[in-house]
C-alpha cells in the first residue's frame, strides 16, 4: 500500500493540529519535509502513519531520549562542585534545602529539555537540522502535545517542591526571581530558539552558569561568593561553546533554511577560526579561575593536561574541509569529548581537594 502523505500550509487551520499531534488517535502525522521555514509560505509534508506501525522503543529508551539524559552533566557537575566547595569550606548549612533544590533542578531541567524539543519541533529547527540523536517527537514515538504536557507537569512539580526552600532560604527568592526574569526575557528575545540570538545566548549563558551555581549555593545556606560566580562563568562559557559547535555542525542546513545564528553569520571559514579562538578563550578563563582559586599544582598540571587534550579538537576544527561532509559530526563529537575530559579534570581536582581536606 502506498505511503500516505499530507501537505499543509502554515495558514491551514489543521497545520498546527498536525504538528502538535492533536488529530486522529490511531494515526500520527510525522513531518518529512519542511519548506520555506519561518516564512508565511511555510508548509510541511507529513507522512501519516497508523500509530501501530510506528516502532516504539522501550520505556527506558524513550525517557532517556525525551529528557536527554546525556545532557544532565550540565547541571549535575555544577552541583557536585558546589557541594565539594562548601563541604570543604564548612559552609554546608542546610542539607534538606539543598536536597530539595537538587531534585527540583533535575525535574526542571528534564522539563525544559522536553519543552525545548517541543519548541524546536513546532518552530521547525529540528525539522530542517536533522542529526543522529534520536528525537522522540520527530520519530513519532510521542506527540508534541503529550510531550508538552509532560514537560509542564515536570516544571510544575519542580516549582511546587521549591516553595518550602524559598521559605527556609529567603535569598533563594532573589536568585529564582533573577533567573525567572532572564528566562522570560530570553523567550521574548529569541526567534528560533535560545541557540540563535546573541542576547538570548547571553541569557542562556547566565542561566546555565552563574544563576545555576548561585541557586545551589544559596539553597545550602552559604550565600553567593566570587569563587562560585567565577565557576559559573567558566561553566556557562563551556556550555555556550558546545552550543556554538552544535550550530556549526548544522551550518549549511541552517543557512539554507534561513536560520540565523553566529555560525551562519560568520560563514564556514570564519566559524572555524571563531571556534578555535573560543576554546582558547576558555583555556584562558580556566587559567584565571585556577590562578585565583586552585592550588599551583592543579593550575599548572591541569592546564597542561587541558591544553594537551584540546589539541585534537583544534586540529579537527582546522582540518575540516566541507560544510557538508562527516567532518562536522567529527568536530561535534571531539568537542563533546574535550568537554567531558575537562569535566573529568575538574572532577579529579575536586576529589583531590576532598582528600586533602580529610587528611
Amino acid at each position: 500500500m502506498p505511503t500516505q502523505y499530507l501537505t499543509l500550509k502554515k495558514n491551514d487551520p489543521d497545520f498546527l493540529n498536525q504538528l502538535w499531534g492533536r488529530t486522529e488517535t490511531d494515526k500520527r502525522a510525522i513531518p518529512v519535509k519542511t519548506y520555506n521555514l519561518g516564512t508565511e509560505e511555510e508548509s510541511v509534508t507529513f507522512e501519516v502513519k497508523p500509530i501501530s506501525d510506528i516502532q516504539k522503543p522501550s520505556l527506558m529508551k524513550l525517557i532517556v531520549a525525551l529528557v536527554k539524559l546525556k545532557s544532565f552533566i550540565l547541571i549535575l557537575f555544577p552541583l557536585f562542585f558546589v557541594l565539594v566547595k562548601n563541604s570543604v569550606d564548612n559552609r554546608f548549612f542546610d542539607p534538606l534545602s539543598m536536597t530539595i533544590v537538587s531534585i527540583a533542578t533535575i525535574l526542571l531541567f528534564a522539563g525544559l529539555n522536553i519543552r525545548n524539543d517541543v519548541y524546536d519541533h513546532i518552530s521547525g529547527f529540528d525539522r530542517v537540522n536533522l542529526d543522529s540523536t534520536p528525537k522522540p517527537i520527530r520519530l513519532g514515538w510521542i506527540s508534541a502535545h503529550k510531550a508538552s504536557r509532560i514537560s509542564l507537569i515536570l516544571i510544575f512539580i519542580s516549582a511546587f517542591i521549591t516553595i518550602p526552600v524559598m521559605i527556609l532560604q529567603l535569598e533563594l527568592i532573589r536568585v529564582i526571581s533573577v533567573a525567572l526574569i532572564l528566562f522570560i526575557l530570553g523567550r521574548f528575545a529569541k526567534h528560533n530558539s535560545y541557540k540563535d540570538r546573541y542576547f538570548a545566548g547571553f541569557i542562556l549563558f547566565m542561566l546555565i552558569g552563574p544563576a545555576l551555581v548561585s541557586g545551589y549555593q544559596v539553597a545550602l545556606g552559604a550565600g553567593v561568593d566570587t569563587e562560585v560566580l567565577g565557576f559559573g562563568v567558566l561553566w556557562g562559557y563551556a556550555v555556550m561553546f558546545l552550543i556554538q559547535v552544535n550550530n556549526f555542525s548544522h551550518i549549511m542546513t541552517s543557512s539554507q533554511s534561513g536560520i540565523k545564528n553566529m555560525m551562519t553569520k560568520l560563514g564556514f571559514d570564519l566559524s572555524q577560526k571563531f571556534l578555535i579562538v573560543c576554546w582558547l578563550g576558555f583555556i584562558g578563563l580556566w587559567v584565571v579561575f585556577h590562578y585565583n582559586y586552585a592550588s599551583t599544582y592543579w593550575s599548572v598540571f591541569g592546564t597542561i593536561l587541558l591544553i594537551f587534550w584540546s589539541l585534537p579538537l583544534f586540529m579537527k576544527i582546522a582540518n575540516i574541509k566541507s560544510p557538508m561532509g562527516s567532518g562536522l559530526q567529527v568536530v561535534r563529537k571531539e568537542a563533546y569529548k574535550t568537554f567531558i575530559m575537562m569535566v573529568f579534570l575538574f572532577f579529579m581536582e575536586n576529589l583531590w581537594v576532598i582528600w586533602a581536606d580529610l587528611i
Binding site: P2, T3, Y5, T7, V32, K33, Y35, N36, E41, S43, T45, L130, M252, T253, Q256, K321, S322, P323, M324, G325, S326, G327, Q329, V330
Partner: protein, 337 residues
C-alpha cells in the same frame, strides 16, 4: 534493418534532435571560432537529451511556441553540457559518453572556454527573450548547480558522509536542473502562481534525487543495461548515495573492505566472509534501498495529485506526461501503463 544499422539510425535521430538546440540565435556558434563547433558536436552526439525532452513534455500541454521550446531546450542542454565540460576537467575524467573528454581531446583551456561560452550564450538568448524572471531563475539554477559541484568535490575521500548529506548535494547539483525543466515552461508562459511553482519545485527535486540514485546504482551494476563502468565512483574516492546507504552501520573493518573493493565480488565480501552470504546481504540492502525510493515515488505521486488540483483546462494533460517519469528515471524501464 540490422541491429547495428538501427542503433546507428537511433543515434542519428538523437543527434538531430540535440542539434536542433544548437542554434537558437544566428549569433550562436559563429564559424570563426576554431574548434568550438567540433567540440560542441563531439560533446552533444552521445547525449540522450533527456532534460530537453522533459521541457517538451511540460511545454506541450501549455501550448508553448515552438521557438520558446527551442530556447528552453537549448538553455537546459547548454547548461548541462557546460557543467559536464567543467566537471570532466575538475575530476580529470578521461571518458565521457564513451569518448575522450573534451579537455583531453582539445585542451583544458578550450574545455573551460567552451563551457563558459555555452553559459554566456544561455544568458544572451534568455535576456533577448525578455522574461527577467526566467533569467533570474536560470541564474539561480546555475548557481545551485555550481554550489553542488563545489560541495561534491569537498566530500570526495569522505567515507563517512551520510545519505542525507549527499541528498542535499544532489539536490543542488542534479535536481536543480530537473526543477528548472518543470518550472521554466510555466515561467516562460508568465504563469507565476506560488503554489504551482512550489509543487513543481518539489517534484523536480524528487525526480533529480531518483535520477541520481538510479545513476549511482549503475555503479554497483544494478539495472545497468547501458553497461556503465562498475565501481567508478568508489574507485575515485566518492561514496555515492548507494555507497552511503550500504556503509551505514558498518564496522571500520567492513568499511575498509568496501572502499578498497575493485570488483563487485569484493564489495560483497565487505558484508560477510563468505561470498554467497555477502552477496545475499548486499542484495537485501539494495532491496531496502529500492524500498526507500518507493516511498519517495509515493511522495512524488502525492505532489502530482496536488498539482492536478490546481491545473486548469489543457494543462491537465501534464499529469499524464509527468506520471511515468519515476518509472523511466528510477527503474529505468518503460512505463507499465
Amino acid at each position: 534493418m540490422s541491429e547495428s544499422a538501427l542503433t546507428q539510425a537511433l543515434e542519428l535521430t538523437k543527434l538531430a534532435l540535440l542539434m536542433n538546440y544548437k542554434i537558437y540565435s544566428p549569433q550562436d556558434f559563429p564559424a570563426y571560432l576554431p574548434k568550438l563547433n567540433a567540440l560542441f558536436d563531439d560533446l552533444f552526439s552521445g547525449g540522450k537529451g533527456f532534460r530537453s525532452k522533459l521541457i517538451g513534455l511540460v511545454s506541450e500541454p501549455l501550448t508553448l511556441a515552438h521557438s520558446t521550446q527551442t530556447l528552453l531546450g537549448q538553455t537546459i542542454e547548454f547548461i548541462h553540457n557546460a557543467s559536464l565540460l567543467h566537471d570532466d576537467l575538475v575530476d580529470r575524467s578521461h571518458l565521457r559518453r564513451g569518448k575522450k573528454t573534451a579537455w583531453l581531446k582539445y585542451t583544458p583551456e578550450y574545455a573551460v572556454l567552451a563551457g563558459d561560452y555555452l553559459l554566456a550564450r544561455v544568458m544572451v538568448n534568455l535576456s533577448t527573450f525578455g522574461n527577467i524572471k526566467l533569467v533570474q531563475y536560470t541564474s539561480e539554477m546555475i548557481s545551485d548547480l555550481l554550489a553542488g559541484e563545489w560541495l561534491q568535490d569537498s566530500v570526495v575521500g569522505d567515507y563517512f558522509v551520510t545519505l542525507e548529506q549527499l541528498d542535499r548535494i544532489h539536490n543542488l547539483k542534479t535536481a536543480s536542473l530537473f526543477k528548472w525543466c518543470l518550472r521554466s515552461p510555466f515561467i516562460a508562459s508568465e504563469k507565476y502562481d506560488k503554489e504551482l511553482h512550489f509543487i513543481l519545485n518539489e517534484m523536480g527535486s524528487i525526480l533529480g534525487l531518483l535520477f541520481q540514485r538510479s545513476d549511482d546504482l549503475l555503479d554497483y551494476d544494478i539495472r545497468n543495461d547501458e553497461g556503465k563502468a562498475v565501481l567508478g565512483d568508489l574507485k575515485s574516492g566518492y561514496l555515492n548515495s548507494v555507497g552511503a546507504f550500504l556503509s551505514k552501520g558498518m564496522s571500520k573493518a567492513q568499511l575498509d573492505n568496501l572502499i578498497k573493493a575493485t570488483t563487485l565480488a569484493e564489495v560483497h565480501l565487505a558484508f560477510a566472509d563468505n561470498a554467497d552470504a555477502g552477496k545475499k546481504i548486499f542484495t537485501q540492502k539494495i532491496a531496502e534501498f529500492d524500498e526507500m525510493n518507493i516511498k519517495l515515488i509515493d511522495l512524488y505521486n502525492h505532489h502530482l495529485e496536488n498539482l492536478d488540483k490546481i491545473l486548469v483546462g489543457n494543462e491537465k494533460a501534464l499529469i499524464k506526461n509527468l506520471k511515468p517519469l519515476t518509472e523511466i528515471l528510477y527503474w529505468r524501464r518503460k512505463p507499465s501503463s
